[in-house]
């Protein structure tokens, strides 16, 4: 846990903001690029997607420019060029330049990683220049889409359109769509919901090209919006969808086709019905509100009044998503950390109040105050628990974010390697503390890449083994009590235990004559410097091995297990705590010291006499309902005086996932809330200690790192 908090070097607030925003933009770009790849394969591009991509690249260019990252800004500029070509229709969906988007985004990501070092930035300059050159060449060669003639639309409307909006307008005209001007007035302080409603309805049958605000009839209180809507449907069809008392629709350009929109069984004779609609409604339009721009002699003019016989429309998804934008707040995770620390300190104070209440209660003279204080303490306790749960809840995010990232990685690997692999994802809704989720991304990525590169065989080999040609990687998360288990399972060739062993012998990790169980041998994969595949591929080989995966997961208080069946596949399970910040702990005494053990890891406690402890090859065991439970004496672990040989001892049975161990202690003291704080200084790396915590009036105690103690116990047991 200490490692987790010491990783970020001191950086200015502005730079941190910059890095985190660029990361967000990159995340958005990657997700949108994945969609773009799908849509390119399907042949039809959603115009808004290209525009969204363009906007991300544009923001990136601006930000990088402001912070003086010229390489990044230049690269973003070229990204923007490609995307501008795409959204403006100058580049076709098939243009080869689009293949350079992803490498450019990844290069930006790697530039960001190197942002701290000017030297590393300079080193990347050549890489940037090469990619830029390729983009320029590709853009030059890209097939240009035909331009269309300028439309016959009122200049007044065109003035506030951006170049892109102009392009969408021209494109709609070229496709023979109807262009409608929808106008409506709203109260200025609450316009968003009504406008979102109107926009959402218009989007059901068309594209909203622009949204232009103008002062309403009472300028201080009202605001009027003009929406330029392109659609295959006529004004009549549009009017049945729009439900706003002051909305009016005017056709500013008649569509070429009389075809009805797909979802409306309404009239097909556009002009006639629009005229009829206009005649029927123009009176209500004039009464309903200001519409200075609607020329009333226009036969296409149709206004909308709420139709009574129309069934109530379900709120559209569009509207929901707009609402969720305005109801979400971005919070710096460090602020949540601070909040969590504060809650932790309150929790500790609460403990002190309880102690005072107990003292007061013990004296007859003050017992009355003690009772009162006790009651107050109970109320405070309840509220504090709610507060604590609330703060924890805010920090929880679904694993889906990481899973989606992995799914994009697999998609790319699939494309680059031509290997046929299916990724099955389950349990993306499982939630974990944000920090844990972030720290998990790298280890999970590595495990998945390993499965893709090494575990899954080429199609021919699979077919020969009687398996389907397509390999499967299953990614699954499930909650188990206070832990989340994430499994990455493949149906590949499995791990060759003998090969692992001989390689470990060759590396000098084990003696040639060592006796190892199967599990122990598989466990060697987590040893630094051992990789079973001798070939190093571009995707998995570099740097991070399974040892780093284990190290990362252990730093989060978790455990990694590996199980593999030759020929059938490998499953790697990560067991992680749901949160890191506040834990319930069991305090135990050893000699004159106290330790805290996270309660989530405690399975049971028992008292045993010395005769119950069995010894085998220097290790101690307890027969726990027929199973041998490996024991560890905490006084021996931490160099404390041993208790009398005949003393009864307490055993705390701890477990994580399927692993168990028994910790021998002198006393069980009680259950407490503990806020884990990292330990800095010389004791930081003491194995078996996760951090320190304060316990009310009783000073600081050390928190045991159960994961480390169990693993160590398990290793000794296997060795025994």
């Amino acid at each position: 846990m200490a490692a987790r908090r010491t990783r970020s070097p001191a950086r200015s607030k502005a730079t941190r903001e910059f890095v985190s925003e660029v990361e967000e933009i990159l995340e958005r770009l990657r997700a949108d690029l994945a969609d773009l790849a799908d849509q390119r394969a399907g042949g039809e591009l959603e115009p808004e997607l290209a525009n969204r991509l363009f906007r991300s690249a544009h923001s990136l260019k601006g930000l990088a420019g402001m912070f003086g990252f010229e390489g990044m800004s230049g690269l973003a500029h070229h990204l923007e060029d490609i995307l501008d070509g795409l959204r403006m229709g100058r580049l076709a969906a098939s243009a080869p330049a689009l293949d350079l988007l992803e490498p450019a985004v990844e290069l930006v990501a790697s530039l960001l990683e190197r942002a701290g070092s000017a030297k590393a930035q300079a080193g990347a300059a050549e890489e940037v220049a090469r990619l830029v050159e390729r983009i320029e060449a590709a853009l030059h060669a890209g097939p240009a889409a035909a331009r269309v003639a300028a439309p016959e639309i009122d200049e007044r409307l065109l003035r506030a359109l951006t170049e892109y909006e102009e392009h969408r307008l021209r494109e709609s005209l070229r496709r023979g769509r109807w262009i409608h001007l929808v106008e409506a007035s709203f109260e200025i302080l609450s316009f968003e919901e009504g406008l979102a409603d109107l926009t959402g309805a218009a989007r059901e049958i068309g594209e909203v090209i622009s949204t232009l605000p103008a002062p309403g009839e009472v300028p201080e209180a009202q605001i009027r919006f003009s929406l330029l809507v392109a659609s295959d449907a006529d004004a009549q069809a549009l009017s049945t969808l729009l439900d706003h008392p002051t909305a009016s629709i005017r056709c500013v350009h008649r569509g070429a086709s009389d075809a009805p929109s797909e979802r409306l069984e309404h009239s097909t004779h556009a002009a006639e019905s629009a005229q009829r609609g206009a005649a029927e409604r123009s009176a209500s339009a004039r009464a309903a509100g200001p519409q200075p721009d609607a020329s009333e002699s226009d036969p296409e003019d149709a206004s909308v009044s709420p139709a009574l016989d129309e069934p109530a429309r379900e709120p559209s998804g569009e509207l929901d998503s707009l609402k969720s934008i305005s109801e979400t707040v971005r919070v710096d995770i460090r602020k949540l950390d601070e909040l969590m620390n504060l809650v932790g300190e309150l929790v500790i104070q609460r403990g002190a109040i309880a102690a005072i209440a107990a003292q007061l209660l013990a004296e007859p003279a003050s017992a009355r105050f003690g009772r009162e204080l006790g009651k107050l303490h109970k109320t405070l306790d309840r509220k504090l628990q709610e507060l604590q749960a609330g703060v924890l809840e805010v920090r929880m995010v679904p694993l889906r974010q990481v899973f989606e990232k992995l799914s994009r990685v697999v998609r790319r690997l699939r494309r680059d390697s031509g290997k046929d692999v299916r990724l099955e994802i389950r349990g993306g809704d499982t939630e974990l503390d944000k920090l844990i989720v972030e720290e998990l991304a790298d280890p999970l990525m590595h495990v998945v890449r390993n499965a893709f590169d090494h575990a899954l065989e080429p199609p021919a080999e699979r077919i020969a083994a009687g398996k389907p040609a397509e390999g499967t990687i299953r990614l699954e998360a499930l909650q188990r009590g206070n832990h989340v288990v994430i499994q990455v399972a493949d149906d590949g060739r499995g791990i060759d235990v003998d090969a692992v062993r001989s390689r470990a012998v060759a590396c000098g990790l084990v003696a040639p004559d060592a006796l190892l169980t199967r599990k122990e041998t598989l466990d060697l994969i987590f040893q630094p410097g051992l990789s079973t595949s001798s070939e190093v591929t571009e995707t998995s080989g570099r740097g991070v091995g399974m040892d780093v995966v284990r190290e990362n997961v252990t730093a989060l208080g978790g455990l990694v297990y590996l199980d593999s069946t030759r020929g059938a596949g490998t499953t790697i399970s990560l067991t992680l705590p749901i949160t890191l910040a506040i834990i319930q702990a069991l305090t135990v005494g050893v000699a004159d010291q106290r330790f805290a053990i996270p309660l989530t890891a405690v399975l049971e406690t028992l008292l045993v006499g010395p005769e119950a402890i069995q010894r085998s090859e220097g290790r101690e065991f307890l027969n726990l309902r027929g199973d041998a439970l490996a024991l560890r004496r905490l006084h021996a672990e931490f160099g404390l005086p041993a208790p009398a040989a005949d003393a009864r001892q307490a055993v705390v049975v701890v477990g994580l996932g399927d692993a168990r161990a028994g910790l021998l202690v002198d006393r069980l003291e009680g259950q407490q809330d503990a806020v884990i704080k990292p330990i800095l200084g010389p004791v930081r790396s003491v194995p078996g200690i996760a951090g320190a915590t304060e316990l009310g009036d009783r000073g600081t105690v050390l928190v045991l790192d159960v994961a480390a103690l169990i693993e160590d116990a398990a290793r000794r047991r296997e060795a025994a």
Partner: protein, 127 residues
């Protein structure tokens, strides 16, 4: 006291602009809007002396905001400065046609922003 409305969807960029303008050399109060819609809601709440807006934003774009401000008698006199990443020359021209008082291309030096803001504020006071 000058009251400045900053409309910019990028939080990083927004805080850069805010911190640049906080050192204007004259007392300032700054209101931040993260989108065009937010700006539309902020405008009637207070009297502003300067509006600084980006162009590329979700919901309504900066040009649409300029059009709104400059077509509204209540806000027309407020000087308006567009800050936008170097991009479409046409968009820039349009911003000025719609009545924006100045246009700054990102990246810019904080001092250039301050100078432009001071000029706009002084000009508005003269008028």
């Amino acid at each position: 006291m000058h009251h400045i409305l900053i409309v910019e969807d990028s939080p990083t960029m927004r805080s850069l602009v805010v911190s640049a303008l906080e050192e204007l050399g004259a007392p300032v109060r700054i209101t931040e809007a993260a989108s065009g819609f937010e700006a539309l809601r902020e405008l009637p709440r207070e009297a502003y002396d300067l509006i600084v807006t980006d162009i590329n934003m979700p919901d309504i774009n900066g040009l649409e905001l300029v059009s709104f401000v400059k077509s509204n008698a209540a806000y027309r006199a407020i000087p308006l400065l567009i800050i936008s990443t170097e991009g479409s020359e046409r968009d820039r021209l349009k911003g000025l046609e719609l009545g924006a008082d100045a246009y700054l291309v990102k990246p810019f030096e904080p001092e250039v922003l301050r100078r432009t803001a001071r000029d706009l504020l002084a000009k508005a006071q003269e008028e």
